[in-house]
Symmetry: C2
Subunit: 659 residues, 2 copies
């Protein structure tokens, strides 16, 4: 039996994922606000403190929790260092707090408190034994005055000085420690706020018909950086298999010279730790990584754990793949579909430990070559325990590494991948087009527990997905989805060249794949037709950089509009200083107008006061007044407005000449 006299209850702690089974996520400099229910039997007052420490530290730091209502308490700390931080809670029945609270009531009721003062003497003297002499002396002075029932002694009990000392040297009789240590994964800032640009390096050549190279990508870095991106993501750069190689438009017969899909990884030239010779050498790649960093761009590699039939692993580690009864290796399938150019790893292999080590080593290999950002292909088709182990291992060596989960699958699977360690994730944004769809989905992502561990990264398109909205909406649709992605979540990306070129031709009617997809052939992207779109992208990304409100998600709030074709939402910083309201016309065909309802109270705007909204995208400045304000948006001009709200308009007495 524990000490049965530990009477404080601590429960209902948040954030706490699955009973503490998984860490929450923060980035360097962010706050962790912790709440808990805490109380004891009877009427005694309690104290509660929040403990936290970095994995590398021996001692805990401590900060007080303060009571809210209904036995709920709140406290917070900040995380400053990459890695793991733990937190937990300690509470105790606080004799001094109880005694002073009751003494106040007794004094107010004019009762004889002589014996009560002596109780206080005991409490204060006990605490004084824990204090160095310099602090003990004033404590003992009050105790002595109480013992002698000196004139005014009782009132000295309530002095801020004694309160502070008694708090500092509180004897925590029968303290309770919350029975779980909860964890925070502290990531670099780019985990929270990042802007991704995807390109196929083999299409990067400025000359039509030549295979692009890492050097060609280096040449594009200045303009990509100038558009405001900070992550440059390349599809797999490894040797591409030759057996069952796919031809253009995903045909099953490749002609000589067809480059194949970069996701069919591995050939005689090597596998996951090698580069496709046509792209360049490992050294060329390392130069690209460092050049990119010089331009403020992190290079994101695509890690796709699967093997083409001619991958060296297939010969060297045949037991990592599943054998069929006829002696062949099991290719990827989604019956009745067959993907004979791809062998999945068998995560039930007897040799799983060696396989895990090797797959982890792939990340380490590229980390050693300077890569810190990984976009992981289809992580939901590999075992969760592998990811939990692998990501933890990589981050223990490279705590600044981040992992984007490319999972488009069932919701619980996507969330699980985030729980086991993925830093960011693809989302359903790609298929959420209407106002109610977006509101519902974003509310789930940003206003529920999900926000503690799942960081959405919004992509309007990917090489696999050309959504119907883009197929039929023309340029306004591309702008709308860009603005939504860039302002709804702090992490977003575009599959650049085709987006800029407004490519909207599907493989076939009703299909979401691109016609002449870069996945299966080399494309050439002349700059001129893309220039107009690039200008808008540049402005949007500059707005994101200039406005910290857009660099996190937790403040996202939707506002009612009396027209369902228009969506309106705001984001703000913790201190409220930066406040951005985005209004988007979701109808790519028609002008739409409506009245946007704003929570002036929450915005800190007096109802009677005019305020200015400055459209950072279009440049317009409007004087608004009251809770309802009119917007009218022509999608063919610009389908969205990103307003910076200026609360305090200058008035006549703000100017010298008024005096």
């Amino acid at each position: 039996m524990d000490d049965g006299r530990s009477r404080v209850v601590i429960e209902g702690v948040s954030p706490e994922i699955d009973g503490g089974r998984f860490p929450i996520k923060r980035t360097v400099g962010e706050r962790v606000v912790v709440e808990a229910d805490a109380y004891t039997d009877g009427h005694d007052a309690i104290s509660l403190v929040l403990l936290y420490r970095h994995d590398g530290e021996e001692t805990w730091s401590e900060t007080p929790m303060t009571p809210l209502v209904n036995d709920r308490w709140r406290g917070e700390f900040q995380v400053y260092e990459l890695g793991r931080v733990c937190y937990t809670l300690v509470g105790w029945v606080d004799r001094f707090k109880t005694w002073t609270r009751d003494l106040r009531k007794r004094l107010d009721a004019g009762q004889d408190v002589q014996v009560d003062l002596l109780i206080g003497v005991q409490i204060i003297e006990e605490s004084a034994t824990r204090a160095p002499e310099i602090d003990a002396r004033p404590m003992l002075a009050v105790a002595s005055a109480l013992r002698d029932n000196e004139q005014g002694a009782a009132e000295r009990v309530f002095s801020p000085e004694l309160t502070w000392l008694m708090d500092r040297y509180a004897v925590r009789h029968f303290e309770i420690r919350y029975d779980r240590e909860l964890r925070v994964t502290v990531d670099p800032a780019i985990a929270r706020f990042s802007t991704w640009y995807e390109l196929f390096p083999r299409s990067a050549s400025p000359e039509f018909g030549r295979h692009g190279t890492f050097r060609d990508v280096v040449a594009q870095l200045p303009e990509i950086a100038a558009m405001g991106f900070d992550v440059l993501y390349l599809p797999p750069i490894h040797p591409i298999g030759r057996s069952f190689r796919k031809g253009p438009n995903n045909t099953t017969t490749a002609e000589p010279g067809d480059p194949g899909s970069p996701w069919a990884i591995g050939a005689e030239e090597g596998g996951h730790k090698d580069t496709l010779p046509e792209l360049g050498t490992l050294d060329d790649f390392s130069s690209l990584v460092s050049s990119a960093r010089e331009h403020g761009l992190e290079l994101a590699m695509d890690i796709a754990f699967q093997a083409a039939p001619d991958h060296p692993y297939v010969k060297e580690h045949r037991t990592w793949f599943r054998e069929r009864p006829d002696g062949t290796i099991q290719y990827a399938e989604n019956p009745p579909k067959k993907y004979q150019d791809i062998y999945p790893f068998d995560f039930e292999s007897d040799d799983w430990r060696a396989m895990w080590d090797e797959l982890k080593d792939v990340f380490i290999f590229w980390c050693q070559r300077g890569v810190r950002v990984f976009r992981v292909d289809n992580p939901h088709t590999k075992a969760f325990p592998f990811w939990e182990w692998c990501i933890a291992e990589v981050k223990s060596e490279y705590p600044d590494a981040i992992f984007l989960s490319e999972a488009f699958t069932r919701p619980k699977v996507m969330y699980r991948l985030a729980k086991v360690g993925f830093t960011q994730s693809y989302t359903y944004f790609t298929w959420r087009n209407t106002s109610s769809e977006l509101r519902e989905y974003l509310t789930e992502l940003t206003q529920t527990e999900v926000a503690e561990y799942f960081r959405p990264n919004f992509w309007p398109n990917t090489p696999d997905i050309l959504p119907e909205y883009l197929q039929f909406g023309g340029r306004p649709a591309f702008l709308t989805r860009l603005i939504l992605a860039a302002t709804l979540t702090a992490n977003y990306g575009i599959y650049g060249s085709v987006y800029e070129a407004l490519e909207a031709t599907p493989l076939a009617p009703g299909r979401e794949e691109y016609w002449e997809s870069e996945k299966y052939e080399i494309r050439h992207w002349p700059l001129e037709p893309r220039q107009r779109m690039r200008e808008v992208i540049t402005i949007v990304n500059r707005i994101r950089r200039d406005n910290p409100a857009l660099q996190s998600n937790e403040s996202l709030t939707f506002h009612n509009v009396d027209n369902d074709q228009i969506i309106a939402y705001s984001k703000t910083t913790d201190d409220g200083a930066n406040l951005i309201l985005t209004v988007v016309n979701l109808d790519p065909h028609h002008v739409q107008s409506g009245w946007v309802e704003l929570p002036l109270d929450a915005f800190g705007i007096e109802p009677s006061q005019s305020f200015q909204v400055h459209d950072l995208l279009g440049g317009g400045r409007y004087m608004w007044n009251g809770t309802h304000n009119y917007v009218e948006i022509d999608p063919h001009a610009m389908p969205g407005q990103i307003f910076q709200i200026r609360r305090h308009m200058k008035r006549e007495h703000d100017f010298d000449y008024f005096m």
Copy 2:
């Protein structure tokens, strides 16, 4: 590292209280419906089973879980024995299920499945090694037919027989067991459905001026049982302290002959294991317990852990109480109020183990004398760890013991008491009068996780609480609160004599205490003025007994009424056979009418079909039709209607003469 090949995830299990820290509650014969999220990576099919066993059993019983939507699974079991039942979950990637599912698709697509059939052979043969010969033989026959690719062999894979056998002898490769064992406390049926009657035995004498006795209570048993009660609750029956004894109306000076408050426990004659001599001997009490049981009544004792200054504990165990610096013992306080007639136990006493043992022994002592129902006074002023230990100890010897928590305090404290073991609890019902208050509170109690561990027991009044609604509402108010208590929750009780007598005089205006409360004096209750109320109580309790829908809470559903003064709600049994609709006029002064909106779909009534509602309280029968039906209620006649809904009205072709 565990086996990293265990790929199934089990999470989001419900019911699960605070991560499994506390048990859920059921009564003998009830179902436990368990849900969980379960899934694996990729496309493999999984199986999930629910395991459960009684604390006394070595082996687990098993029942399959079935998938709902969105990776949610459900299964259930029933509990048949008092005590503790554990449950947990096991899941695995199911190779046979995956294989048959894929085979179906391949066959439908007309693919060559020869190699796939050989995979099936391996799976079936592996399972067959686990089966006795009689079951293995048909399995191996299918395997052999598949190996030889016999005509129609593939279709035999889908036979119910093979499905059943493969399920039974499934090889659970890399099975995952949920990492928590969750618990159910199985209580007797009376924990779920009980009807309480409270009386002060000292007022039970039929002769004015004589102190009532246990024998007087025995004489009243037939009429109390006839009213339909099954628990008879007596305030404390122990010797009453003499120091600082309270006089009538809670005055601080008792005159000689004043009996004092029964909650001031302990005097020279004894303490918590003794009876007040005026009430009778221990033997008289035992006779009362057994006579009550013969009448279908459980006797509920009041256990109030506190001592009058003359309690024997105070001399024998002075360290169980807190000493003040002047050498006196700390009396109960809620500053500035002082209760000098009561010493609270000090749950921080150095001798707490001995104190815990003795307090537990009080329950055991009365259990040995036949008592199984305890109403515990102010449990929230004693340490939670004590209750958790004490109740578990008592129930390990007497698993049919039940504990009603008399806590009127902050919500989280009340819920915690239920979590640590209290079987039932007093509630805020006493102060919830309006339709929206009742809906909100009852929804929390019956439709959230709270229902898994907190069993409300509704009391319209107690010796401490004469709510304002009863003070000003007259007889209609008493009837309204009776009907609400009796039909909203399966457990309810009344403080009988004063309720029947419609006593409504407070100690002073604005106070909730009774004038001339039985807590401080002996009262005499002539039967005649109470008879009319008793008749209604008898009918209400008979309705509760006859209608199983009213004997549990989980089906409670509120229905909209276009008049806020009227509240309407229904309850039904699991099979829907018994369906009760209660409609109450909450305005004790005026006739109110309105349209009640019913969910005919959920009720299983065709919209076009008439149905009969039979008011079991007033006797009326009405033909209703459609979703909206009219009610009009005169509170001076009867403020509520308790309708039994008869779905199927006889029509002409139900009668012989129609043929």
